[in-house]
């Protein structure tokens, strides 16, 4: 039967495709490739920190490793990860559309990502960059390393994010199947909608910030340079005005994936649908007003710190609501522990820890103590990896049969999960303790008392690597050799499962008509 994978052949039918499903697979390839690159940097970082003193790399090189690890993982993996990869594939299918609203723009945004990534990585051949992914001024103005290509690359990748967000908002508004009102949309669609709002409204501010940074380096315009009357803290305000909402670009869609997984594998309607919808929207809105919690010790005023602290606490409420709703959905369900559901449970556990430590960090004097220590590093890895990566992996396993029409190997999927989950906790839990004991982040070397916990952490990183090797190897194998999948192997209720696996070129042979509530 003709499907989107075999309807056209040849490399150019992929590189110039406007089919959202094919574009999603292009994103899949780029995102996972960069994930491997970023992961490799992470392993080197952990290896250097295995022992006190300089072991495999010197501090200049270490600083570059940590910069590239951050920049690659954030701009090239997590931000495009769920929205552009899973979202592109699933969104039109879930709302019963033939494609996204602007297919050409969709392809353009993939090219923006690739070109931006290419520009960023050219810096590797110009001596590398060592500012950290945050590019704080005035260090980023003064350093002799190749800041400009990295910043320009991030600028171009920003367009990718903006265009994807814009596309999704219009798609959701205009292309829903007959009968699918807003409150009948699956929660993944809602989470993409909330994410898209942030992508469209926050990313332009990053764009102008990065342009200013380039101007600062080329012309020394002085806007962020105290020597010329400028204010370096203004850069931090601008940067976090984007980058805090960006945290929710990373986590909101993962939350959407988890809602789908928990419903499908509990065979239940979601508990508190509307609460979850408004929680997503609420998080998106409040996320614009909490950026100052990255700057409690930056020298901003005392009152600013207090206001940002209370607003940050407010974000905690919808987040807690989500966790309770997911668990309530499992109540009296019929739970099947397939790999995607294991990732969902892994998400619940890790995100819970990431969440409560986030709440601890919102408390001002505690943050003053652990700000820029390993406590923060552990916290955001629990949220980013424990949240976003668990979301990407869970979603990937879940929609894998739909994407390729084949089933993955369940046993190997579970083994991969177990290794990643255990390895993750072994790597990052000790970092909470290191942080409370005062070990600063971005340190190429540390004092002897911190060594034991660092060694545990490094061993954990090897487990994670092993887990991903297992997971990716068997997924790759299943892509080509896996058993054929039926249209709806999980018995899930959302629209994408009504189409064949893999779906035909225009998704549905007949436009679906929606009469039921989501997950009913």
């Amino acid at each position: 039967m003709s499907n989107y994978l075999n309807c056209k052949k040849g490399l150019f039918s992929w590189l110039f495709t406007r089919d959202h499903k094919r574009i999603a697979l292009l994103y899949m390839i780029t995102v996972f490739s960069f994930f491997i690159v970023g992961g490799f940097f992470a392993l080197l970082i952990r290896l250097e920190l295995f022992k006190v003193g300089e072991t495999i790399v010197n501090s200049a090189f270490y600083n570059q490793l940590m910069t590239y690890h951050g920049a690659v993982m954030i701009f090239m993996v997590i931000i495009p990860g769920i929205p552009a990869f899973l979202g592109n594939f699933v969104l039109p299918l879930q709302i019963g559309a033939k494609d996204v609203a602007f297919p050409t723009v969709n392809l353009l945004s993939w090219y923006c990502l690739v070109i931006g990534a290419f520009v960023t990585l050219t810096s590797l051949f110009l001596g590398g960059v060592d500012t950290g992914w945050t590019f704080y001024t005035p260090y980023s103005i003064e350093t002799g390393t190749a800041v400009i290509p990295v910043v320009l690359g991030a600028f171009i990748m920003g367009f990718s994010s903006i265009l994807t967000g814009l596309n999704f908002i219009v798609t959701i508004h205009q292309l829903r199947a007959p009968g699918m009102s807003f409150f009948k949309m699956p929660l993944f669609v809602w989470s993409l909608y909330s994410t898209a709002i942030i992508q469209v409204l926050a990313t332009p501010v990053l764009a102008i910030t990065l342009l200013l940074l380039v101007a600062e380096r080329v012309l020394k315009v002085g806007v962020f340079d105290p020597a010329m009357g400028g204010d370096p803290i203004l850069f931090q305000h601008f940067f976090w005005f984007y980058s805090h909402p960006a945290v929710y670009i990373m986590i909101l869609p993962a939350m959407g994936v988890i809602s789908e997984l928990i419903c499908a594998f509990s065979r239940k309607r979601i508990f508190g649908y509307k609460a979850l919808v408004f929680a997503s929207l609420g998080i998106a809105v409040v996320s614009f007003f909490v950026w100052g919690h990255h700057m409690y010790v930056s020298g901003q005023s005392e009152w600013a710190g207090i206001v940002f602290s209370v607003l940050t606490m407010l974000v905690g409420v919808p987040t807690a609501v989500k966790i309770f709703n997911w668990i309530a959905t499992m109540f009296r369900g019929s739970l099947k522990f397939d790999t995607p559901f294991l990732y969902a449970l892994g998400f619940l556990f890790l995100f819970l820890i990431g969440g409560v430590t986030g709440y601890m960090l919102a408390v001002l004097p505690f943050d003053v103590h652990v700000h820029d220590t390993y406590f923060v590093v552990a916290h955001f890895h629990y949220v980013m990896v424990g949240g976003s990566i668990m979301g990407i992996m869970g979603g990937f396993y879940y929609w894998f049969p739909k994407m390729f029409g084949r089933l993955y190997n369940e046993g190997m999927g579970q083994l991969g999960f177990a290794l990643i989950f255990i390895g993750f906790n072994v790597t990052f839990f000790p970092q909470f303790i290191l942080g409370i004991n005062g070990m600063p982040r971005r340190y190429a070397d540390y004092k002897a008392p911190y060594e034991a916990l660092n060694q545990i952490s490094t061993v954990g990183s090897w487990l994670i690597a092993l887990g991903f090797i297992v997971a990716f190897t068997f997924l790759l194998w299943a892509m080509f050799k896996g058993r054929k999948a039926s249209a709806n192997p999980w018995g899930a209720k959302t629209l994408e499962w009504q189409s064949s696996s893999p779906p035909p070129h225009e998704n549905f042979l007949e436009t679906p008509v929606v009469t039921k509530e989501a997950y009913e």
Binding site: A101, V200, T209, A215, V223
Partner: protein, 212 residues
């Protein structure tokens, strides 16, 4: 309308498609405003901190040239609207004339901008580290004002340039008979962009030239 050749395959009707395009365009304009917004916020903060310096800086600028440019852009917005009006009436000749006028206005704007820039450069007022003016009106931190002047007008000028390229593209489309009363939407989107460029200038002019 189902058989309209401009209808993309995944829309049910041309009307739906236009609505989608319009929402998309407005979202895009919102991102543009936010991007400029960063500069406006920066301007506001430094204006509050260096009010006197900014006043001195504004006195360097020729408000008459700025005012002429404001009029030029306002007029071009009107001609842009008229070109869409004529396209809707299938009066393509008049539409082309109006588009052409808009394009000429764009050139005029850029020419005046060029005069202003070259005058500044002549006095040694370059952006950032290249600032070399040492005349009698120099005050400390003056380069910071001109950093904002060049950043804001520079980013704006790049948008005028992009707008002109788009208008030129539309002009070609009219000659290729791709714009008519049943398909004039591209013209309207370019028009929206052009109005945004105009609008931003209307904010820039008083902030930079007339600031007290």
């Amino acid at each position: 309308m189902k058989d309209n050749k401009n209808l993309a395959h995944h829309f049910n009707s041309y009307k739906d498609q236009i609505r989608a395009e319009k929402i998309g365009m407005w979202l895009f304009l919102a991102t543009e405003i936010l991007m400029f917004g960063g500069l406006f916020v920066g301007y506001t903060i430094y204006h509050a901190e260096y009010t006197k310096v900014f006043k001195v800086g504004a006195e360097f600028l020729n408000w008459k040239k700025g005012a002429i440019n404001t009029v030029v852009l306002l007029f071009s917005s009107w001609t842009m609207v008229m070109s869409i009006y004529y396209a809707q009436k299938d009066q393509i000749k008049k539409c082309q004339m109006m588009l052409g006028t808009t394009l000429v206005c764009g050139f005029l704007f850029m020419f005046i901008k060029y005069l202003e820039y070259s005058h500044k450069f002549h006095e040694g007022i370059f952006p950032g580290i290249y600032f070399s003016y040492t005349g009698s009106a120099f005050v400390e931190d003056l380069p910071l004002y001109f950093s904002f002047y060049y950043l804001m007008t520079g980013l704006h000028a790049s948008h005028v340039f992009i707008g002109m390229a788009l208008i030129f593209w539309m002009l070609i489309k009219t000659y290729k008979k791709q714009i008519n009363s049943s398909h004039y939407m591209p013209l309207e989107y370019v028009g929206l962009f052009w109005h945004l460029v105009d609008l931003i200038w209307i904010f820039l002019f008083p902030l930079l030239y007339l600031v007290e």
